[in-house]
């Protein structure tokens, strides 16, 4: 549904100037860049039109608020208070008075204009380097009015990319498991929302237990585990059409599914007679291939972004550890050697790191290590947390955390959290219900 309307990129005016501003992305949020997001200007006619169409008083203000919140959440930017802005939105978009913006210590400025053209939403925006007094970028989009939040996310991605040199992760969605009810009888549903928590939608009704949804990196497919008819199996769900089907014809439990980087295969575990091994199924020709053949538990497989290697979890050395092998199952190497148990390896989209969950002395950690196991870095410690998923630019990890109950077994909750790769900017991600098993989509645009 959401993707029926493609965003049209209308004009692209790349302005080559040397920017004086630079966001330090290696240190996290120690010194966020002061940026002014001016409300996007809007003419009275368009204002009236949008009020009728999308029930929003001032779409220019709302879109700029989306941008502002995104940039603030990233931890790399400090969006300045709008009350301090001296220049009116429409004039600022034509020619900012840089002295005014300098005065409030803004180093970068975003301005823009929103209008209703042929029943469509047209948004133009500009990014300015306040210190150099120059325009850095100007773009315009046309789309259906209901897509207005996505426009805010796309603007954020453009601004983020221009100022940090890295791709953004704002025009993305999170699929996760929404939870409710007592811990002993938890009801779980698949749910999807925008990266910033808006547009939440439940995809299943909660009649059967569902776990571990994962996005395809290339399209709007999701793979997950469902206990439909008490037969735990890996399923494939098209979130545009709602069509779902079981993956493969296995005589036992299949679980821990993920897509290959090209989206053409599903890799998963199949458990039989007390032994779990890793298999793949080609989604086009349905051919099933066995990748591991070992009496230990082999699970939680995750491909490297080039598809050549697979990281996975195995207890072949007695306890859970992380291993890497070639995509044909050859050359298995253990890579986790620190103290404690290691699980849920997930290969970074940049290819250089593997994120994991670690259990040591009764505490759970989310951490990263290089793909050969060196350079282990623990980002966060808690009573219980696991299942990191990477933002598409490999910058942020989202995971879930569960609370310890009190002596009466009360006070249980599960929530999504995100943390920057640097270990800074740890934040709870607001969800309507309790939540677990998050999976981050690729960028929806471009």
């Amino acid at each position: 549904m959401l993707f029926r309307y493609l965003l049209l990129l209308l004009l692209l005016l790349p302005v080559k100037t040397f920017a004086l501003i630079e966001v330090d992305i290696t240190r996290g949020n120690l010194n966020p860049l002061p940026i002014a997001i001016s409300p996007l200007s809007i003419d009275d006619n368009s204002k009236k039109g949008f009020k009728k169409k999308v029930k929003i008083e001032d779409l220019g203000v709302e879109i700029s608020t989306v941008v502002e919140n995104n940039l603030r959440q990233s931890g790399l930017f400090n969006p300045l208070n709008k009350d301090a802005f001296l220049q009116k939105a429409d004039i600022a978009n034509l020619k900012p008075r840089f002295e005014d913006w300098n005065l409030i210590k803004a180093q970068a400025l975003v301005t823009g204009k929103v209008s209703l053209v042929d029943e469509k939403l047209r948004v133009e925006f500009r990014l300015w380097d306040v210190l150099a007094g120059k325009e850095m970028m100007a773009l315009a989009f046309t789309t259906v009015p209901s897509n207005w939040r996505r426009v805010g996310h796309i603007i954020t991605d453009k601004v983020y990319e221009r100022l940090t040199g890295e791709k953004g992760y704002f025009d993305t969605r999170i699929i996760y498991v929404a939870e409710e009810g007592p811990k002993t009888k938890r009801i779980k549903k698949l749910a999807i929302m925008d990266q910033d928590g808006f547009n939440n939608k439940f995809l299943t009704l909660g009649n059967e237990l569902v776990l571990t949804p994962r996005f395809s990196p290339t399209n709007q497919m999701v793979t997950y585990l469902s206990y439909f008819r008490n037969l735990p199996r890996v399923y494939l769900l098209d979130i545009e059409t709602g069509m779902q089907e079981v993956v493969g014809d296995f005589p036992g439990m299949t679980f821990a599914p993920r897509f290959s980087p090209d989206g053409k295969k599903i890799i998963m575990s199949f458990a039989q007679d007390g032994n779990s091994d890793i298999y793949t199924m080609d989604l086009e020709n349905r051919i099933v291939e066995r990748i591991t053949n070992h009496p230990s538990i082999d699970t939680s497989p995750s491909y490297s972004p080039d598809g050549k290697y697979i990281a996975f979890n195995s207890d072949r050395s007695k306890y859970q550890q992380i291993y890497v092998m070639k995509n044909n199952g050859k050359d298995v190497k253990r890579i986790s050697f620190g103290n404690g148990l290691y699980g849920t390896p997930v290969w970074s989209p940049r290819g250089d790191l593997i994120a994991f969950t670690k259990l040591h002395k009764g505490k759970f950690y989310i951490g990263v290590m290089r793909t050969d196991g060196s350079g282990e870095r623990l980002l966060t410690e808690n009573f219980y947390q696991e299942a990191p998923s990477w933002s598409p630019n490999g910058r942020v990890l989202i995971f879930y955390r569960e609370t310890k109950t009190n002596s009466k077994g009360e006070g249980f909750s599960a929530k999504l959290w995100s943390i920057d790769l640097t270990g800074y900017n740890e934040k709870m991600v607001e969800t309507e219900t309790d939540a677990s098993d998050p999976s981050w989509s690729s960028l929806l645009s471009n």
Binding site: T212, F255, I297, T299, D315, E386, A387, K404, G409, F412
Partner: protein
């Protein structure tokens, strides 16, 4: 501070420490009474398939081997199943909450299968036994403490027909 007040304070401190030691011994007794190593040996959550036939066996952390007590329970289940040859069962394997979700699914499956294998060595046909792992999804005790976790590491034999 006069003497009687000091004595009163000493008395209070003594009383308090007596109460505390009493508590300490009590909890210690309770836990050793229901745990052997870290395997649950109590009867709190146990139900019965028939008189004298407990429905579940318990496991140590990260373990799938059957304890002496578990084997005794399974022999009783096997005897009951032999007597009631029309009954089929599902062995539901579970893990505690102190492990990653996917690994726990595999662990639950392995636990249920070690119970299944044992029933089979006592003459129960594999056609009558199916296995279902819930991982850590269906705890019986919602506590976040070693005793609660020990009750949750289990394989439960459930009548399927």
């Amino acid at each position: 501070m006069n003497l009687s007040k000091i004595l009163k304070n000493i008395f209070l401190v003594l009383m308090a420490s007596l109460v505390l030691t009493a508590c300490a011994t009590q909890t210690k007794k309770a836990s050793t009474g229901q745990l052997q190593g870290d395997v649950y040996t109590g009867t709190d959550s146990v139900e019965y398939l028939a008189s004298g036939v407990p429905d579940r066996v318990f496991f140590a952390t990260n373990e799938t081997v059957l304890t002496t007590a578990s084997r005794e329970t399974l022999r009783k289940q096997a005897a009951w199943l032999r007597k009631n040859s029309d009954i089929t069962v599902v062995l539901e394997g579970h893990a505690d909450e102190r492990g990653t979700r996917e690994y726990n699914l595999a662990l639950g499956e392995r636990r249920a299968n070690s119970a299944k294998d044992y029933l089979m060595t006592y003459g129960i046909s594999s056609d009558r036994i199916s296995v279902l792992s819930y991982g850590k999804e269906r705890p019986v005790d919602s506590g976040s403490n070693p005793l609660a976790w020990s009750k949750n590491r289990r394989s439960v034999t459930v009548k399927a027909n």
